[in-house]
Symmetry: D3
Subunit: 245 residues, 6 copies
């Protein structure tokens, strides 16, 4: 099975962390490759950052399928371009948020999410609600550190994460915590062990669900909203104002 993870931001160190996390749980028979998009923001922190990543992401997925990939993981917790990606792909495409929400709903009764910046909280709340976990998810919390802080200052971010996961456990009274940023993967096991609560890394959730879908022959439906894009001509000139009417 060939599985590709795509890091929509352009920070290679995050891609390496994502790949580490993926390989730690991937089935020995799975071949994992991890791609860093380029020309995209160095981190995804809001709607704009998401939006500019999607066109190259879709290209990368088409290229991946052409190369024979069986499935793709979009390795960002905001599930950037997930629906569009499913539209262009024949094989399964997974997002970290949906995957970890699904895992959380199978192994726990109530969970919280801990993400990076406050501004990402409503984005994730909306995803969690759309994925049907509005009741199971008690709260989306933020450590209020930018995404790259997890690379740049591991000690600080480990401390803040531990603090916030502890709050989730004790104040929200949840039995699982989902790490709401791909850049937190490296901290997952240590948090789980020290705080004695299930901690879910979205990268690992997505990799395992991707393997499950491929193994079960569950390919993306191609007859409804995820049907391949309709073919039409489109010229490629840059945007310009054309006063009309």
């Amino acid at each position: 099975m060939k599985l590709r993870l795509i890091n929509p931001n352009s920070t290679d160190a995050m891609t390496q962390q994502i790949a580490r996390s993926a390989r730690a749980v991937a089935h020995p028979g799975s071949s994992i490759s991890a791609l860093t998009l380029s020309g995209t923001p160095v981190s995804i922190e809001g709607y704009h950052d998401e939006a500019v990543c999607v066109p190259p992401l879709l290209e990368a997925i088409r290229a991946g399928e052409a190369e024979g990939m069986d499935a793709h993981v979009i390795a960002c917790f905001d599930d950037v371009g997930l629906a569009a990606a499913r539209e262009v792909a024949g094989g399964p495409v997974l997002g970290l948020c949906q995957a970890s929400v699904q895992v959380a709903m199978m192994i726990s009764k109530r969970f919280s999410v801990v993400t990076s910046l406050d501004r990402s909280v409503p984005i994730i709340e909306d995803l969690v609600e759309d994925y049907g976990a509005g009741r199971a998810c008690r709260r989306v919390r933020a450590v209020d550190l930018p995404v790259l802080a997890f690379e740049a200052d591991a000690a600080l971010s480990r401390a803040r994460l531990k603090e916030e996961v502890t709050r989730a456990r004790d104040q929200d009274k949840v039995d699982a915590v989902v790490l709401g940023c791909a850049g937190m993967s490296d901290f997952c096991r240590a948090l789980e062990e020290s705080l004695q609560i299930r901690v879910i890394d979205g990268v690992q959730a997505a990799v395992k669900l991707a393997e499950a879908l491929v193994g079960g022959g569950f390919r993306t439906a191609k007859t409804g909203a995820y049907a391949y894009p309709r073919l039409k001509s489109a010229d490629m000139a840059p945007a310009r104002v054309s006063e009309s009417g």
Copy 2:
């Protein structure tokens, strides 16, 4: 990986079908065993039938964990006793309904469920809502045949299933259909091929998700509502009326 499927009803032919379906998709490295409960109804058709299966089911899961099972699948679409099973188990426990709803939400945008009897429709509607698929699931339909008809009269049930899946596709305008009864597994591939729409068998969905959870180290949370049952004494005498007050 050792995975056990438990058929909560006492019909061994259904267990064999379930095992066939499971083995068709299980990873070669997974060891699949399938157990038929006894002393339970020959089919599960309503709340009473569900309820009387749960105590032996919980015993079977405890026994399975003692034997070294890594995960269990409750092989009935009503997800009989799922929460209680997660409480008594350390490893993951999957139900067919939750598993197929999750697969459907990853590969399609709108789906319908086709089950056996009309009386099971509200039961499944409630599960689908609880699993967060109230928006994604357009309709729960029934062929209005009892569960055992799928064993007893394959031609009739195949024809009725095909009719109802076609209605789901054309009237509900869904891009996937979930088969809402473990006894329908044998019909899954033929329906998918002849009707050109994704058809999801809950047994296969649950087997693959169980493998995913085990492979990812996602064990059941033991600190909240799924914590092991509290120990207490209980005498085992039969029920009796004791006028009080």
Copy 3:
């Protein structure tokens, strides 16, 4: 009118408290009997405890109807086996949680529930949501005492209850509090008087609604999901593993 309350756990002292609470509000023309199940856990604290009570509970309800009972109350706040009980019964069957939620919605605008253990909180949250009180119920709180503590240490549990009902009143700003455990009935009136807020005992709510349903001729529907269980053969041998396929 003959009304039977069934305490699904095997603690007779709780049954006596339940009967006291019921008789304090029952219509003089109602004949109240209270039954303790035996062979069940001494208290119901989680999904497993619920599950193992249901088969004897269903037997007790069938026996009750054979004896001429007009209605049954399942005297546990988790509404153990309520749907299955309605399936086997011709007369009305009430659960404490649904009954008190309905009373709360008729006499107050916002309410909270105070239950025993933290682990019961998600169970009750789910019931409250299913009964349609997701908006009316602000919060499900726990005193974090086991059920039997209410029998064993009345002073402690009275103090903890008072504390938590006070928090519900002042922090949740509710105008009613539902006591979320049958073992709290004895404390109801004193709490209501000392804290100047409506406090609802589920036993009393269920008894009065049961009388109402019987008096109005509102018997359980027998044509849909609550139709009597379908008849089928079932051998009664103990559970065993049968390897299949």
Copy 4:
């Protein structure tokens, strides 16, 4: 127990029907009186009709409490002024829609409502949703006859009602039907018998729940949104335009 039913419209024949329906199920110890408001529309068919009934309704409830009434029923299916009525009353106040929705949720798993005019359908849908029965109620249907037709042409309205209740039973696959207009009470039993499905009359549901609340000591909460109206001065001159600013 003294229970007063208030018919918010000014049609005395409807009040008589309401009183008949109420007395058919009231406890022998209950004293039932029925009041027709005057100065109000002859039937309640829309938001305007509702609104103009509320001030005299509130006066009537205050007068009723002064006369020693233990509880009030607002005998209109739109639950006209229910929240305001609970604010002015110390005793319980019931509305037909909320009462029948609650009864339906205790004795059936899925129900539909059949009301008079199409224009009332969204009004009742909103009430049903607010009362928490959005999932349990499959559909609100209308016979498309004005309210007074039930008095004026009993044969026609009986035929149309039978037709629509049959559709609810067979198309919506419900196990109970709620009659969504106080003017349909006389037809309730015959429909139930001929169509073999539970049919719920809101008047009878409300009367029995009112007796239950009074008998259980469940009085309206007076500390939150249903606290008595704040006292303030108000002159009683007619409305006039006063240009300001």
Copy 5:
């Protein structure tokens, strides 16, 4: 364009404030008139107060349309009688709560409401939910001052408002705050400037949306639930008890 604001309470000073707020944002081509109802409570604080305003309000709207008004604004945050007003009107009718909720959903991602008394909190929560902002609105808060305090003690109410809007900003982490009482209009700009967060005055939201609806030719639908009231006779005698049956 002729736009009329109706203050449902009888306090003229509030009408003047409302008119000031309206005129500050109205289009120069709009003619704004503001009307104080008389015979109504001096402030609207609960369901009773709302209810008694509605009949004169409906009369005032009919009179307004007869005078040639293009649209009406009901200048009370509880949206008193809004549905009934739309029924009697041909032109658009706006309520402060719906209008500010809509504006908030267009310019922010999460907002809170700050109202006067605690007892109004559930009223506004229900409106916000009905208007579809259940997810966007984090919390409805109250300064716990009566409505007229905003006239009587501007310094105190300014201080309390500032305190509560600050809490909304910092604790609820919202990016907009809606002022939940028409009597708070005068404080809006200063709060916005000093607290650096969007603060929305419902009067201004409603005036601008009213202009938009009129300008776009979006008149109230007259074929469904907002169709004109059905004509029927009604005698105008005062309410009386008529024992029936």
Copy 6:
């Protein structure tokens, strides 16, 4: 007031229609300009088509603000990139779907949407739900014609639209219909007149709400999820695979 409409697809004829529709309702004091993006698909029919429009759309909005635009309308019913656009803009940004849903909720009680292709139905259903109109919107229907058919074959598309709006009126029993595609604007008035039901054109709804927001000083909140994008470096090299770990 300067308002710019951006047609995210590259079909200039649609932009001209959009501009016609906008100018028909714009305030005389508003200056309307309409821009066609280039390099984008000729029509937006699915998630992929949406996604590839967003980066040039964001550029166009930034350019628009630099040119002094007071507000922007994204003239596509899928509200392509709406959240991202609000993030990059200081002034208000409107989408056709949100705007027409809001207008529909102010002038009608129940509405349906009629869009172009079946594949767009779930996309619009999700938007409608997110905008809080899940209860008010009865159904999203499709005429099953591609977007450009409205330009290419006006007679056919007029006929199909009339047919589907009629079904919405008669089967869904709604009092308003929203046209779910910017390419349908030219048909709006004729449908409204011939079918005697409110028909809402999203372009006109958005233009009027944009004027309202600008006129009321309601600018986009810049402190939460719509704060300006965080500044960070990003190299602009094309996407490439970089095997990591």
